[in-house]
């Protein structure tokens, strides 16, 4: 057959949340054995409906996050100070669009079209990482995003790149490689400000104060009570708990923040050396949920921009879509 035609492009529309009925127990067992053996699941393989549904959701949200994530940093492209920062920032935001492209392709391999995913993003039906609902208020915010938000994302991506779904792993492999450049660049901008003039140092401290809670929120609430978590981990869709990843982030980045003389705006942040776990102050999970539901400082603006893109460029699609084109699921 031609292309990924064995992927039913309409199946995703009928996937219901938590639907575990009607799965053939033999097929499920073989599927689990494959995953336990460390094999990758490819688009052609049989998979439980819930696996397909969860993966589409996860990869789609990741793709959306890259696309929307381009906006707070993109806001500073025209104002980047100096050639080095200017070119690096354009390249970085370009990479984020590139990652979105790779991730939408990976999600498409499960049957949902790019058009459908962008539609759901524009209408607010599907989500993206909450951290991007906050504004980059100053240049120092760009440095914080470039170093710490990227750092948090890398913790997430590195762990998930060991997951079970082939196309997602392949996309993540390339993404992780490119993120290494982003992190270096972000760290450099961060350190330049921290070790620069008093004014620059203060600008960075102010930005850190603004972004600390969103960074804690980035990994999500503690998933000890999560119902789905166990199944997702068994299927290697979710490779580690939220707490585990947040902890790794603290391990890697707290020392780097402190070594340049910044203060972390959380007096309760401390590592329990006996358990290896970090304790931290209440980051206000009510705010997290409020922002996710649409009440953050930039939710409306993010969607407005994506809708502007749609409207402003519709004429381009209208002019260039060939009548003989065929709808195909890409070979991710």
């Amino acid at each position: 057959m031609y292309g990924n035609a064995f992927v039913d492009p309409d199946e995703w529309k009928n996937l219901k949340k938590g639907d575990m009925t009607e799965e053939d127990p033999q097929k499920l067992e073989a599927f689990q054995a494959k995953i336990d053996a460390g094999d990758k699941i490819e688009p052609a393989d049989w998979m439980p409906k819930e696996y397909r549904r969860q993966l589409i959701r996860m990869i789609e949200q990741h793709a959306n996050s890259e696309l929307i994530g381009a906006l707070p940093e993109g806001a500073w492209i025209t104002r980047a100070p100096g050639f080095k920062r200017k070119m690096a920032l354009v390249a970085k935001v370009q990479d984020e669009i590139g990652h979105a492209q790779l991730l939408y392709n990976a999600a498409e391999s499960l049957g949902k079209s790019r058009v459908a995913m962008l539609n759901d993003l524009m209408t607010g039906k599907s989500k993206y990482s909450n951290v991007f609902n906050y504004p980059a208020v100053t240049w120092a915010d760009v440095a914080v995003i470039g170093f710490l938000v990227d750092g948090a994302a890398i913790v997430n991506q590195l762990i998930n790149s060991k997951g079970s779904y082939g196309p997602y792993c392949r996309a993540l492999k390339r993404i992780c490689a490119e993120e290494a450049f982003h992190l270096k660049q972000g760290h450099d901008a961060f350190v330049s400000l921290a070790t620069g003039t008093d004014q620059q140092h203060q600008m960075l401290q102010d930005a850190l104060d603004r972004w600390w809670k969103p960074l804690i929120h980035f990994f999500g609430p503690s998933d000890k009570a999560s119902v789905h978590g166990e199944k997702l981990q068994r299927w290697k869709v979710k490779m580690a708990s939220n707490d585990h990843m947040r902890n790794k982030f603290f391990d890697q980045y707290v020392p780097k923040i402190l070594e340049v003389g910044l203060t972390i705006p959380d007096a309760e942040l401390i590592k329990d050396e006996s358990t290896g776990e970090w304790q931290f102050g209440d980051p206000d999970w009510d705010e997290f949920f409020r922002v996710i539901k649409g009440d953050g400082p930039c939710n409306k603006e993010r969607l407005a921009v994506r809708n502007w893109v749609r409207e402003n460029h519709q004429w381009v699609s209208d002019a260039l879509l060939r009548p003989d084109r065929v709808r195909m699921v890409p070979l991710a």
């Binding site: 669009i97 003039t197 381009v316």
Partner: protein, 249 residues
């Protein structure tokens, strides 16, 4: 005008054009028509900013100052960019058409500079060949396809061309450096480049069914008299840098 000044004039003109053009094009990063095209257009913006950097580097070697200072710490009236590159981005047809007109001129300019007397500039002209080739190919493919698209895409292209044409002619503004530029082996005169440029763009515009009306060139940029758009652009571009021009960012 002495050779040194003619050399500086040419370098500033080219560097400022590249910087402002690259800056304008970078405004599309993240909000382009498709993901793939967003990525492609962004590469071209980076190329332009990179060319500006290399040109300012040559000026730096001539004692004009640090590259960042030349780009971020000069007065508006000291810029030598043409009005064409200063205009806001408009719709995508406008940006594509501007890209086509500007890059065709740049390709011709750099091509003949490969033999110029200023060695670092001649070397740069060889280096940028590949990038400029891609920029031209990009414009050709996009405009051709849109010109064969819908009534709307054709209308937008025509509107863009009509608005841009007088500004495009302004790329070839001449001044009292012309004689010195010629006599010291700094390449073709602006009129010569314009003639080559007209010979290159006219058949393409005809192929694409796009018309130009004779117009008067919008000039002044090469003498430091700029469009209303440059000052706000520079203000935005230097907003962070000017918080502390002496700081290391």
């Amino acid at each position: 005008m002495s050779t040194q000044d003619a050399t500086r004039q040419l370098l500033f003109q080219m560097a400022d054009d590249a910087l402002i053009m690259g800056h304008r094009n970078s405004e599309w990063t993240g909000i382009g028509p498709t993901l793939e095209e967003d990525i492609a257009f962004s590469s071209m913006a980076q190329d332009k900013i990179g060319h500006a950097y290399q040109l300012y580097k040559i000026l730096n070697a001539m004692g004009e100052g640090e590259m960042d200072k030349l780009a971020f710490n000069r007065n508006e009236k000291d810029f030598r960019s043409c009005h064409l590159v200063e205009l806001p981005i408009g719709d995508y047809a406008f940006s594509l058409m501007r890209q086509f007109l500007f890059d065709t001129a740049e390709s011709i300019r750099y091509e003949q500079l490969q033999n110029c007397s200023l060695t670092p500039l001649a070397q740069l002209a060889v280096k940028v060949k590949g990038e400029l080739r891609y920029h031209k190919m990009h414009a050709d493919v996009w405009i051709k396809q849109l010109a064969n698209g819908t009534e709307e895409s054709k209308a937008r292209l025509q509107a863009a061309l009509s608005e841009l044409w007088p500004y495009a002619l302004g790329m070839f503004e001449e001044g009292d450096w012309q004689a010195a530029r010629k006599s010291e082996g700094l390449g073709d005169s602006e009129s010569e480049i314009r003639e080559k440029w007209l010979a290159a763009v006219s058949p393409k515009l005809e192929e694409w069914n796009l018309r130009v009306e004779s117009a008067e060139a919008v000039e002044g940029g090469r003498q430091g008299y700029h469009s209303e758009f440059l000052a706000p652009l520079l203000k935005e571009m230097t907003e962070v840098f000017n918080i502390d021009p002496l700081a290391s960012w």
